[in-house]
Structures are given as C-alpha cells and as structure tokens.
C-alpha cells in the first residue's frame, strides 16, 4: 500500500530525512517512532503530499505521488499532530466541505458522519463553531473528516494526543478494523506501549535515518519496544 524509496528531504543545509526506505502492506499498522525532531512529521507530510522532497520516491498503492498526486491523495487521509481546522466553520460544515472535495454522495456522507460522530461522541457538538471546540474535540473532528471517504491509507501524526481514554480506545479498535478491511495505517507516536500492542510493524527513526524497520515481533524480540528504542537511541 505504501512504499517509500530512498526518501531524502533537506531544509537548507539540514537533512531532515535521509535516504529512508520502508514498505507497508495492506492490512498492516506501522508505528513510526523517534525522538522530537527525528524526521517523523517531515516523512508523514511528504507521504501525504503536503511538502515536496529532494530525492527518492513515494508510491501509494503503486502510484507515484510525484506523478499523480491527486490520485494518491484521494486514497489517503492525513491528520497532523496539531489539528488546526477551519475555526470559522461549524463541525458539520467542515465535514460537509471535506465530503464535497472527495465527491461523497449526500446519503453516504450523512451515514458516515452519523456513524463516526456517534462513535466519538461528537454528534451534539457538530453545529458548534470549531473555534468553540477543545483540542480533543478538534482531534475527533479531524478523525471523522479523515474517515469520511474511507481511505485506503491513513497517515496519522500523534493521533492519540488530546483524546479522552474512551476515544483513544475507540480509535485503536477502529484502526484495527480499517486494517482488517484491507487498509493500512502509518502513524507516529511517543506512546511506546500503544505502538507495541497495536502495531504489526515498527519503524524507528533517528536524526533522519531509519535505525530499524520490520515486524514488531522481530524488532523487539523477547524484550520490550521501549528497551529496544533506548538501545537504538544510545547507539552511535
């Protein structure tokens, strides 16, 4: 579903992502972990087509994001680490805008909004302006908007930040459901326990370079993901 090949992104002289290669197949959840400033957000933004990269290739379901960004973007959903949404719109107007962009029919969008808003307990607040939302509510709204077109690949940057315990649990279950239905999820997190329990694969990045990538069980072996992470961090 997602294939990143020798991705390199520089900001001036600083190499943010350095020759990164990884692949995620349909049905897999891959955690992307690393310290602050390691290059996680840059990688996710490059995959979602928000920023351009210097070299390498990114394929979404076999299509290069450089060659056909629109087709790639129609198959993915991206949620940033900080859900800055259109505060001048109400929740429902924002969702309707996203549905318009993806060309979702009236009945389908209504049904999906109902389903996911109920799941995240946001139904009553949909008429409120987004400016009145808390961080967690914005995060939930961003999640609903990401699910409205049933994407094949979800790119989530710190998706659990700001969510209440129930919403976090529901999101974990939903992530598993999406992957069981043939989708794929690539998400960054600092919560190693979540990554360990939820993910099939893990990628560890340090100063732009991929330190480890593979099946979760192979990477952590008999120890915990936390100890492997710190072991890799201390290396070099």
């Amino acid at each position: 579903m997602l294939h990143i090949e020798n991705l390199t992104k520089r900001y001036g002289d600083k190499v943010a992502v350095d020759d990164l290669t990884l692949t995620i197949a349909s049905g897999q959840i891959c955690a992307f972990i690393g310290h602050n400033g390691a290059g996680k957000t840059t990688t996710i933004k490059a995959v979602s087509g928000i920023i351009q990269f210097d070299s390498g290739e990114i394929y979404i379901d076999g299509i290069s994001i450089k060659d056909d960004p629109i087709k790639c973007k129609s198959q993915i959903a991206y949620i940033p680490d900080n859900p800055d949404l259109y505060e001048f719109l109400s929740g429902i107007k924002y969702l309707n805008f996203i549905a318009d962009v993806f060309g979702i029919s009236a009945d389908t969008r209504q049904e999906r909004i109902r389903k996911y808003a109920e799941l995240f307990e946001l139904t009553d607040d949909l008429a409120q302006p987004i400016s009145a939302y808390s961080h967690g509510m914005k995060q939930k709204l961003a999640l609903i908007s990401a699910l409205i077109h049933e994407p094949k690949l979800m790119l989530l940057d710190e998706p659990f930040v700001g969510l209440d315990p129930k919403a976090a649990r529901d999101l974990k279950l939903l992530m598993r459901d999406i992957c069981d239905a043939g989708g794929a999820i690539f998400f960054s997190t600092h919560i190693l326990e979540v990554a360990e329990k939820l993910c099939d694969r893990v990628a560890i990045i340090k100063t732009g370079r991929l330190m480890a990538f593979g099946d979760m069980d192979d990477i952590k072996g008999d120890s915990s993901l936390e100890s492997i992470f710190f072991e890799l961090e201390e290396r070099q």
Partner: protein
C-alpha cells in the same frame, strides 16, 4: 511587573508594525513603514494645516483664539476615540494572551496597564499629526505672539493628557460591547454592526470637517459660546493654551485624569469577569438535516466566502469599496435627492456631461478599493495542510480565491450600478454598458493580482488573522499598484489623450487592457503559480 508588561506590550506593538522573520524583511518593513508614515504625515500636514490656516487669523482677530486650540482638541478627541474603539476589543478584552497572563501571578491591573499603554502610544501618534501642524500654522501666521509663553507649554501638556479622557470613554464603550457580545451567540454580527456604525461616523466627521469651515468662520463667536456652554473641558483646553491659564489647565487635567483613574479601577476589578466571560450563551445542539452537496470547486469558493464573512475586520478593511457601493445603493433608494440634485446642477453647467461614464468611473474606483484576495493565501495560516492534503489541483485552490473575490466585489458594484441606472435615469446604452462592465473587469483583474502577489509574499506565521489583512506586504503592494494604475490611466487621459481620443474609446481600450492583463495573470496562476503553491 506592571513595567515589564508595559514594555512587553510596547514591544508587541513595535513587532506588529515591523514584522519580519529575517533582518532583511524587518528592514524592508521599516522602510515601508517610514514611507507610509511620511506620506500620512505630509497628507495630514496639508489637510489639517490647511484647515487651521484658514481659521487661525480670523479666530484671533475675533478674540476667540481659544476656539482654535479647542477645535484642535476636539479633532484629536474624535480621531483618537474612533481609533480606540476599533482597537479596544482586540487589544484589551479579546487579546490572545489574556488567559495566559491571568493564569500567572499577575494582577489584572498590571495586565490592564500594559494594554492601555499601547493604546495611548497609538493615540500620541495621532496627536502629533494634529498638534504639529496646529503649532506650525500658529507660528506661520504670526499669531503665536498673541499667546503667553506658558500657553504653548500648557497646550502640549493638555494634549498629552487628552488621550486619558479619550481612552476612558472608548474603554467604557468597549466594556459595554464586550458585555453584550459575551452573551451573544453570534459575536461577529454585533462587532460588524458597531464597526460599520463607527466607520460611517468617521467618514461623516471627515467629510463634514471641511464643509463646516465656512460655518466656523461666519459664526465663530456664536459657536465659541456654544462650545463654552456645551463642552466645558474643550473650553478650558482652549483657554489654558490661549491665555496660559493655569486654573483652566487644572480643570481640564482633572477632567482627563479622574475618569481615567475611575475607569482603570473599574476595569481592574471586572477584568477577570470580562475576559473569562459568563459564557451564558446556549449551546447549539446539532439536529441532523439533509446536507447540501456541491462540487469541489464550489466548496472551495464557499469556504473562502465563509472565511471572509466570519471576520468583520476583514470585511471592513478589504471590502471598503463594496460597503461604499452598498451605502450608495441604500442612499439612492432612500434619499435620491442627495445625489440627483447636485448632478442636475452639474448638468445645467456642463450640458454634454456624460453621467453614465462618470457613474461607471466612480463605481470602478470604489471596486478597486477591495482587496479581498490579496491576503487570502496568507489567511490559510496553520490550516494550509487541509487543502494541501486533499485531492485538489493547486490551480483550483488559487482560482477559488479569485472567484470569491469576484463574487463578493461584483455583487455590490452591480447592485449599485443597476440602482444608479434607474434612479439617475441613465439612458445612454454606452453608459449602461460601462456601468456594468468596467467595474467587473477591474474586479477580475484585481482578484487575480491579489492572489498572484500573495503567492509571491505569503505569510503563515501570524498570530492574529488581522495581521495579513492589515499589515500584509501583498495587500500593500496590490493596493498601491492598483492605485498607481488607476491614477496613471486618469492622468494619461486628462493631460495627454483628452484631445486625441474620445472618452468612450479610451474606456474600451482600458477594458481591453484589463482583460489582456487578466488573461496573462490567469495563465500564470494556472501554470507557474500552481507549481509555486505546491512548494509553500
């Protein structure tokens, strides 16, 4: 702590004026500000100086020299009051860091002092623009000799104290507005209504200032008596300066300082309550309704229009021409004689006066005051990721901004044009065509220029969304560019081509030129401009 907060607010005021991430940008914004400041200062020097030059000698001859100073005080009062009313909401009650500061061990009175200081600094800038020409005229006409030596000193000190009174009054108005809007669901409406109201008041004051000059000269003594009776602080302000009266100065000083102290104490007590708000408004519970669907481009256009309508200050700043067109429409429908009478008189003096073309030119100039699209890319701010992550062609995003500008600017100008055609009974076909087409072509060109320039000078690091609207480089360049273009076209015809080609042919040529330039800009935005947007 109070002093630290004052310094912080002044630093923020300075940073807002000279924004820039790099030294080079900061330097260029300082240069830009200096040019703008010189331009405003020269304009004020001539307009204020000119007005006071006409009044100075007659007033001193009539023995009502104090009215000269009182008038300066009244003008300062009105200008500072209208400026403060516009600023007080955002800088005092709705400042973004209010909650952060309240969470710290800082007294509300200290926060308030910091905020009030930045308001006073802006007021002093306005005062300088009035006081300097007033003193210059006094010295130029030789009337300065009629004033005792301490008169000028008391005049300057009184002028320094005057903003205290103005700030007290505008803070009171702001306090009432904040109280009302904290209980209202749609705060934007009250802000918009009040802002438009004050704007109309400002324009009315400015337009009548010159018109009432004759009145002041003819009925100076009568007016002086009326001012003495009705506005005692203004009288004492004038007497302190004209006669060097310390008693009058003391009375005026008390009139300025006491309300300020009272306001400061009152607001310090209730600051917490205003900022935190009673939040008594009812929550709007979502009721499921059938959702309207539209294509992605229309959705983008609607998004732009909703953003525009959600920001009263964006409307007031970027659609001034549209507001003026709507005002003309209402005026013509309610009191057509205001315009028809002077126009009939002009027709008598100049029989071949082409009303259609004059109306077309007026609406075109008004339409050219709109710059809705110029800050539209910058206004994406931190939400830029939304459109960039969606399956949208960059050119659709850019053209949606152009379209929104065209819709929002064309509706008022077409409305004003149609009402003008019917009320002013314009029958010439050419005039009617021009009224409808000329403003539209300039609007399209202006919308394209705005997006193109903003693409070259985008700013996404703003804190307050008004920053790209009021201080954006793209706004400045597109407005200045269009003003220069309009003036060039007017002067080119008036001084060079008037005897060589007919006005209608010249206007057709202008339309042709606008359309060709628009086509070039459209090509740029859909090709190289779109590629540039991808790199943002």
């Amino acid at each position: 702590m109070t002093w630290k907060l004052i310094k912080l607010n002044l630093a923020a005021l300075f940073a807002r004026t000279f924004r820039g991430t790099s030294k080079k940008r900061k330097k260029s914004s300082v240069v830009l500000f200096v040019i703008l400041a010189i331009y405003i200062a020269v304009m004020m020097l001539f307009s204020v100086g000119g007005m006071f030059y006409l009044l100075c000698t007659p007033f001193f001859t009539m023995g009502i020299g104090w009215l000269y100073f009182a008038l300066a005080g009244i003008i300062v009062f009105v200008i500072c009051f209208l400026s403060n009313v516009f600023m007080i909401q955002s800088s005092l009650f709705n400042a973004q860091d209010n909650e952060l500061l309240l969470s710290m061990p800082i007294k509300p009175s200290a926060i308030l002092a910091g905020r009030l200081c930045s308001l006073l600094v802006v007021d002093y800038a306005y005062i300088a623009l009035i006081i300097i020409p007033v003193i210059a005229v006094l010295s130029l006409t030789g009337n300065i000799t009629a004033i005792p030596p301490n008169g000028i000193v008391l005049f300057v000190v009184s002028a320094i104290l005057l903003p205290l009174f103005v700030t007290s009054l505008s803070a009171l108005v702001g306090y009432v507005v904040a109280l009302i809007s904290s209980r209202m669901r749609n705060k934007n409406i009250i802000t918009l209504i009040l802002s438009v109201g004050f704007l109309i008041l400002y324009i009315y004051f400015y337009m009548n200032m010159m018109g009432n000059l004759g009145n002041l000269l003819l009925r100076g003594t009568e007016i002086a008596k009326a001012v003495q009776r009705a506005i005692p602080p203004a009288y004492h302000f004038g007497i302190a300066a004209a006669q060097g009266s310390f008693l009058s100065f003391l009375i005026f000083a008390l009139c300025s300082i006491l309300p300020f102290i009272l306001m400061y104490i009152l607001l310090s007590i209730s600051f917490n309550k205003i900022v935190a708000g009673s939040r008594s408004e009812k929550k709007r519970v979502y009721q499921e309704k059938a959702l309207k669907t539209s294509g992605s481009f229309n959705a983008l256009v609607m998004r732009e229009i909703r953003l525009f309508l959600s920001m009263p200050m964006y409307i007031l700043n970027a659609a001034l021409g549209g507001i003026a067109c709507l005002a003309i429409t209402v005026l013509l429908l309610v009191r057509p004689s205001v315009l028809t009478d002077p126009l009939d008189m002009i027709k008598l003096i100049v029989p071949d006066f082409n009303l259609g073309l004059i109306v077309a030119a007026t609406i075109t100039v008004l339409a050219s005051l709109n710059f809705i699209s110029a800050p539209s890319i910058s206004l994406e701010g931190k939400t830029l990721w939304v459109v960039k992550s969606l399956p949208l062609q960059p050119r659709s995003i850019l053209l949606s901004k152009v379209c929104a500008h065209v819709y929002l600017s064309t509706i008022p100008s077409v409305l004003a044009g149609i009402v003008c055609i019917f009320v002013l009974k314009i029958t010439q076909v050419m005039g009617i065509v021009m009224i409808l087409i000329l403003p539209m072509t300039i609007t399209i060109m202006q919308a394209l220029i705005g997006v193109t320039v903003n693409l070259a000078f985008p700013r996404f690091d703003w804190i307050n969304p008004l920053q790209p609207v009021k201080q954006g480089m793209s706004v400045f360049i597109s407005l200045l560019g269009e003003m220069a273009l309009m003036l060039t076209l007017v002067f080119l015809y008036a001084f060079v081509l008037i005897d060589k080609i007919k006005l209608d042919l010249y206007l057709y040529l202008c339309i042709g030129m606008f359309l060709v330039f628009s086509a070039l800009l459209y090509l740029y935005l859909t090709k190289a401009g779109s590629r540039k947007f991808e790199t943002l």
